[in-house]
Amino acid sequence: MSEKHSSNTHEEHGKSKVRYGMVIDLDKCTGCMACAVACHQENNVSFRPDETDKTRNIAWMRMYFLENGKEYPEYRFSYLPRPCFHCDSPHHTPCTFVCPVNATQRDERTGIVNMIYPRCIGCRYCMVACPYHARSFNWWDPTWPKPLEEMLNPEVSTRMRGVIEKCTFCHHRLNKARDKARLEGKDPDGVEYTPACVEACPTGAIVFGNLRDPESEVSKLAKSPRAFQISAKLKTYPKVYYLSKEPWIRKLSDKGL
């Protein structure tokens, strides 16, 4: 983590004043997984019969358990929630670069890496290309335990078998916030909104906002000395920053997920 990159330096990006990003404070995270549950519910993520099989289940916000590998009394552990990092690398993110059908693209006005599910052909190149395992594949028809099918969120479309899905930074909430701003006569660009995971976090460990707004909390935290990105050496420029004072976590973060 010796190199620190500011996502504002890329000339290749449009001159948009908006770059939505996230900062997750690992010192505050208790690993309660409220963010993951809220995300699951908000985004109509389907269930596998056995959700403990983490190689097959679908999770937009996946929880990682980190250990420093030492014996007591030096033993330390930490949790690391991982959404999609909505990489800010020039021209393309790893996933959008490989998509053969333009089913996933990065919106240069907001920095959100988006997806059209029915356009996806299920080749799973993006899943392989993503260094952070942020993408999940629907190997089976999506199913929900009995009462949950009636509780699906109408703001988010369900996916079908054979397509990739991933965290969207809750862009349906962005659309709603933009509409509200329009009706109130405000500028819809750069409007503030809260993704489901941020809303659910009981310790306030997740902060979301516009990284290009120097006054926003998220841009200030991203410049904090505790801030780091996962596998920054890959130069994917994630827009999700982590905060930790623990040197061993920062060291681990360079090894990928």
């Binding site: 693209q105 919106d107 959100i112 059209i116 029915p118 988010v156 369900t158 329009r182």
Partner: protein, 182 residues
């Protein structure tokens, strides 16, 4: 000469056969197939926009405070005026007796129903004329039938993605996926 005549009439027969087949194919393609492809459905109430000229469009089609659009009004709107019969039309009788008195929502058929993965909001499109996308209802005496595509299940009037994209490009609006897809 006689040979020339037979040759000429032979060409005429070929031409006639071609025209019969060609026109037949056109009739099938332009008239028969669309009729077979689309099922014709009628609205539960024969609503007349013309009879409601005394009220503003915004009385029934309005924005809510959170930025969403009311769209097609339901009995909550209708009951404001039609708790009791005002006139003697059949449509009003159906509205009052079948829906308002039974407190049952009107199962309107939507002319522009979009697929599940489409996000459309009226809020960014306020500056456009309604007739840019919707039919002109100002002088409409009865609601037109809804044509549903038997294969896709969508209405004939459902706007296609290419139309959205074209207008967005012309207006300089974003064509990013998440602007219209959820």
């Amino acid at each position: 000469m006689a040979q020339g005549q037979t040759k000429g009439s032979g060409n005429l027969i070929v031409l006639c056969a071609f025209l019969v087949g060609f026109i037949g194919a056109l009739i099938v393609g332009w008239i028969v197939f669309p009729k077979v492809l689309y099922s014709k459905k009628f609205q539960p109430i024969d609503f007349s926009h013309e009879s409601h000229q005394d009220s503003d469009c915004e009385s029934c089609h309005y924005f809510r405070d959170d930025g969403t659009f009311s769209g097609v009004p339901n009995i909550d709107n209708c009951i404001e005026c039609h708790e009791e019969m005002q006139g003697d039309t059949e449509a009003e009788r159906v509205l009052v007796e079948e829906y308002i008195q039974k407190d049952k929502p009107i199962p309107w058929l939507i002319y522009a129903w979009q697929p599940d993965n489409v996000y459309f909001s009226h809020a960014p499109h306020q500056k456009l004329d309604c007739v840019r996308c919707h039919r002109d209802v100002s002088k409409e005496k009865s609601t037109p039938p809804v044509y549903i595509n038997r294969i896709t299940g969508y209405s004939k009037n459902t706007m296609k993605m290419v139309e959205c994209e074209k207008c967005h490009a012309e207006q300089g609006a974003s064509n990013a996926c998440q602007v219209c897809h959820k």
